[in-house]
Amino acid sequence: MSYTININGQPLTADVDGTTPLLWVLRDTLDMKGTKFGCGLAMCGCCTVHIDGEARRACVTPIQAIGDRKVTTIEGVGDTDTGKKVQAAWLKLDVMQCGYCQAGQIMSATALLNAKPKPTDRDIDDAMSGNLCRCATYTRIRAAIKEAAGVPTHDTRDV
């Protein structure tokens, strides 16, 4: 069946079974490889996208469930003010090691900052704990979110 969905402001059409997860439509049908496959069960957050601005796991979101809601992916998030700031903070603090999870981290961080422009450490824990980083760059992810928010980057949980 043919589905036309709004991705990064563009109507894009995919002829797939309606149960196909958005992740695989993005990656293999629409050739948008930025959204990553990690677990297939919404446990690692590598595939995080925004659906109407909220962070969602594309690996468990069937294409037929999207309707006319707006999808934003890592390829498009830099066109938003918050997304651009988050990308810049990630580069400034040199967050990446392998980088595989970071598209998902950036998407979750951007959704967090859109909802809470000045997040606390607790807010960061709550919003980011669905995104695994096997290289464990958590220290820099935390600081980069604060950098993007324009708040001091030190860890307020310090003891």
Binding site: V16, D17, T20, P21, W24, D28, T29, D31, M32, K33, G34, K36, F37, G38, C39, G40, L41, M43, C44, C46, T73, I74, G78, K84, A88, W90, L91, K92, D94, V95, M96, Q97, C98, G99, Y100, C101, A103, I106, I124, D125, D126, M128, S129, G130, N131, L132, C133, R134, C135, A136, T137, Y138, T139, R140, I141, R142, D155, R157, D158, V159
Partner: protein
């Protein structure tokens, strides 16, 4: 050939074959980093560029000076990075080493992944934290040779003496003030006879401008925009997607045929076939040499369709006695074996048995750690295109040459007919030293007659790993009346077959305190192994640090001494203990002064012995030497009334010699390795039930999450020693630092991993 490329779809290769074979590679010349403080994102033209496959940004018109350096007429310098990038940051560090001595401005540097060519580059692998120690000198010399060629070319142009010319930031300047840029000199410099690398002049480190600078990762701007640079992002026109199903019990042979007809009817399925592994290529117990095992290959139009079709697979596997293996029985079995003499003696110094018999105090304890899975977040995958007796692969691998060899043997074609394009890897941790996924992709492409992208599910990644072997240690220590350690024995019961022990599961004769106790005995015995094993980040050390440093903490308490003071006293005078060189001729000996130095630094920074602690809060300290690096950690943790452990903070002290090539990447590695160790200690343990790995995904094999990641302070002692690597050595000691902190907080000694909260409830204590 592999450096040939196309830019924006236009064929730029000069070799006819290369054009047709590689025309699908659309590569953009936008890699490169910029110093850490450069906030700018690539311009819109760059951002819009489509990148497919490996980023090899050779700029048109570039001249080659040597295997590592190409210079374009506009001065853009492309540096080839010879080793795989798996997140350790080597693509950036290697370029820094070359660029420093080349005297090129960092803004003009682009970095490409070098082709796999052992003759040109020597060993090309990511492992053992060896990249820096093996290449620090070589790459600086390659850069210095390039610089000398530019100066020679400029001097010749001017009819001047090279001695009157200097180079800086990609420009050669004559003493008269005349200048020529590297871009202007490119053609002439490439024609200069390359100097003897042994005779080139290297900079005094005090003049370094690029080495030692915190420089952002050279691919980072691509990563934040979601550009397709990982192995899983590779595409080939006409490519299909493949899933490879194996016996859930390791070593299982496919018997009686599978329901191929039913699978063939599933949506999108193009082909399905059985693959019988040649006996010679099955090496299920030695992961590094892991070949291919029997499987059913499902090839479909999309990977999602292939994975759905795999769900209806019915196949019979015969795994023989492996189906009887249960990890729940390991400890009991090991205890029985430990009562006998070890089957293999590792080291005997003095008379440990007599010394134990006459000791004032004897401490006895058994420790264990489980099998572990690597779990890089990019699942195993490989894209392969077999045609006309040749195969090209796009592989996120740590060990491409081994992949070439395995694929060549499996397909029965010469090694020069196997081309491996090394992509960026979404984590490695040792898993991608094996090439099983490359072998699968190659045989599936050959059999199916189409290019395929083969991708594993997370469950397959968990259930078909080459696991860090578990182990069970049975210790005894004897103290004299003054609390001095006078006897020490360890019987390691690990895994193997007969007298062949698992890869990375063994105990060596230099394991601390081997050379520090007069009467000491190490021995090993093996239980039968049923799963493949292989090296995992800081192999051996990631297990031994926990048991030895925890037991020594236990012994220190028995001696009624502060654990830090006990360990400093055991290390004794500052001295270098010699040892035979390790792999690749790297490393020899152990320096007690450097070990004590990091112990003292970690203690000082953490306020060891001077910190007021809350109820059920404690601090632990541990140290370890591995991968040529000296590390110590102090962990402060709190334990709640449910036995939950919260790591409050970690202080790390390291000594990796005179120079950290890239402090930004280096500190990141140290923090990540520390959290990796904490994650293992809190969460990780593979369960084997009736021969198969029981876990299926991150709900039952959890990894550390943001909310569990404590603040980490990292400090270094800079010492006058050759620079060494940072990918691994910070991991091992954090585990015992944590378990020692738990003892300090609760009085409960953690002797088995992962940490069991039930044992930490106040009532249990």
């Amino acid at each position: 050939m592999a450096l040939q490329h196309t830019v924006d779809g236009a064929a730029a290769s000069s070799a006819g074959e290369g054009v047709s074979r590689r025309a699908f590679l659309t590569v953009s010349a936008i890699a490169g980093g910029g110093l850490l403080l450069d906030l700018s994102l690539p311009n819109t033209a760059d951002a819009a560029a489509v990148i497919k496959d490996v980023v090899n940004p050779t700029v048109p018109g570039s001249q080659s000076l040597n295997a590592y350096i190409q210079i374009a007429p506009d001065g853009t310098c492309t540096i080839s990075s010879k080793n795989p990038e798996i997140g350790q940051g080597i693509k950036t560090s290697f370029a820094q080493l070359v660029a420093e001595e080349l005297d090129v401005a960092w803004k003009d540097v682009r970095v490409s992944q070098a082709p796999v060519d052992g003759k040109k580059y020597g060993a090309q692998f990511a492992g053992g934290s060896f990249s820096i120690p093996m290449n620090y000198d070589t790459l600086r010399r390659a850069g210095a040779a390039g610089r000398q060629m530019f100066i020679t070319a400029a001097a010749k142009s001017w009819g001047a003496s090279p001695a009157d010319c200097t180079a800086a930031d990609g420009v050669v300047t004559h003493k008269s003030g005349k200048t020529l840029s590297y871009g202007q000199l490119a053609q002439k410099a490439a024609a200069v006879a390359p100097p003897d690398l042994k005779k080139v002049t290297l900079k005094d480190p005090k003049d370094f401008k690029i080495i030692g600078q915190p420089i952002g990762g050279v691919d980072s701007h691509l990563i934040v925009q979601g550009k397709p640079i990982f192995g899983i992002d590779s595409t080939v026109p006409g490519m299909k997607y493949a899933v490879y199903e194996r016996s859930p019990v390791h070593g299982g042979k496919l018997v009686n045929g599978a329901n191929l007809d039913a699978i063939k009817k599933m949506p999108g399925v193009v082909q399905v076939f059985e693959v019988k592994a040649p006996d010679t290529l099955v090496a299920p117990y030695d992961g590094m040499a892991m070949g291919i095992v029997d499987g059913v290959a499902i090839v479909a139009d999309t990977w999602y369709q292939a994975s759905k079709a795999a769900e209806v697979l019915e196949a019979q596997w015969d795994a023989g006695e492996n189906t009887e293996v249960n990890s729940a029985n390991f400890q009991k079995h090991a205890e029985e074996i430990s009562k006998k003499e070890p089957t293999k003696s590792v080291l005997k110094n003095g008379d440990a048995k007599a010394a134990l018999a006459s000791a004032a105090t004897v401490v006895e304890a058994s420790y264990s750690y489980p099998f572990l899975s690597h779990q890089p977040l990019e699942p195993m995958n490989c894209t392969a295109h077999y045609q006309d007796g040749k195969v090209e692969l796009w592989a996120p691998t740590q060990n491409p040459a081994a992949g070439v060899k395995l694929v060549s043997t499996l397909l029965g074609i010469p090694e020069d007919k196997v081309t491996v394009n090394v992509t960026r890897s979404g984590g490695g941790f040792g898993r991608r030293l094996a090439s099983d996924f490359m072998a699968q992709a190659a045989i599936v492409s050959k059999t199916a007659g189409v290019p395929v992208k083969l991708l594993w599910t997370r469950t397959q990644d968990l259930q078909h790993d080459m696991y860090r072997p578990g182990g069970h240690h049975f210790f005894k220590a004897g103290l004299d009346k003054d609390g001095k350690l006078v006897a020490f024995t360890d019987h390691l019961v690990t895994f193997g077959r007969g007298d062949k022990f698992t890869n990375s599961g063994t105990l060596g004769p230099t394991e601390f305190p081997a050379k520090f106790v007069d009467n000491l005995e190490f021995g090993m015995s093996a239980m039968p192994i049923s799963v493949p094993t292989g090296p995992m980040r800081a192999p051996g050390s990631n297990a031994h640090a926990f048991v030895f440093q925890s037991f020594l903490d236990e012994v220190a308490h028995a001696a009624k001494k502060d654990p830090l003071e006990f360990q400093l006293a055991l290390l004794g005078e500052d001295r270098e203990l010699k040892a035979p060189p390790g792999p690749f001729g790297m490393g020899a000996g152990f320096n007690t002064g450097r070990m004590k130095g990091v112990l003292r630094l970690a203690a000082e920074k953490s306020g060891w012995g001077k910190t007021t602690l809350a109820k059920r809060q404690g601090m632990g300290i541990a140290c370890y030497y591995s991968h040529l690096g000296y590390f110590a950690q102090v962990v402060k943790c709190s334990v709640d009334d449910e036995g939950g452990v919260k790591v409050d903070k970690v202080w790390v002290a390291g000594d990796v010699g005179s120079q950290i090539v890239n402090p930004s990447g280096g500190y990141n590695q140290v923090q990540g390795a520390s959290l990796d160790g904490i994650s293992q200690a809190l969460h990780s343990g593979i369960k084997i039930v009736n021969g198969r790995v029981a876990q299926t995904n991150f709900h039952d094999y959890p990894l550390l999450r943001m909310s569990e990641a404590p603040p980490i302070e990292v400090h270094f002692n800079t010492t006058n020693n050759p620079p060494t690597g940072l990918g691994e050595p910070a991991l091992p000691p954090v585990i015992p630092a944590l378990t020692n902190a738990i003892f300090a907080a609760t009085g409960v000694r953690i002797r088995h991993l992962p940490i069991d909260p039930l044992k930490l409830k106040p009532a249990a204590a």
